[in-house]
Symmetry: C2
Subunit: 106 residues, 2 copies
Amino acid sequence: MNKVIESKNGCIAKAMNILGNKWTALIIRDLYLSPKRFCELERSVTKINPRTLTKRLNLLEEENIIKKVRINSDSLTYCYELTKKGSDLLPILKKMSDWGDKYFKD
Amino acid sequence: MNKVIESKNGCIAKAMNILGNKWTALIIRDLYLSPKRFCELERSVTKINPRTLTKRLNLLEEENIIKKVRINSDSLTYCYELTKKGSDLLPILKKMSDWGDKYFKD
DNA sequence: CAGTATCCTTGTTGATACTG
DNA sequence: CAGTATCAACAAGGATACTG
């Protein structure tokens, strides 16, 4: 039984830098279901305000967790979708969900 | 392929309520290696200050993630160790570490 | 629609000194 | 040793109104 959790120091911190912010887990969960536009996220991530949503999307894009794609060439509307790096966060969220489900039956 | 991540809403948030605070992941990682006393945690979780460590330990104890056990009956020194609920957080940390390791080779 | 700009409130953490 | 007390600093998030 190997008790080493981090193969090297700071790996957990890297993930927490992304997931530790409010709303981020919900944004990723929702984008995993399908790519979404700004206003769709505003609706699916209830209660988030546009300033915060913008900040999250910018950070996630900088970190290459999501990418912003133009819906069609003659439009200025964009759509956000998970990258591979982003969808690789899902196992973490799944483990969180498992834990929450196990210990909070209410 | 099932796209549902949370079996019910709020499960991820429950885990994030615990792990989302600074230092918490490190405390859990260190207590997993072995139970520790306050001053040992102060040393192993470098840079944490006693006020914050106290707050973390109290929260984790309230949430039944750790328990405080008296080292011997005639002493006032205590030791903190993970409960089952606490060690069940480790798979989350492990997934975080895997992700960080995969995407931050530096 | 897709954000940006301002301002404000609150929560979180740190520094430091102190106590039983 | 195992914390507690006090104060300061800062970051994060919310409310709201506005723009191209």
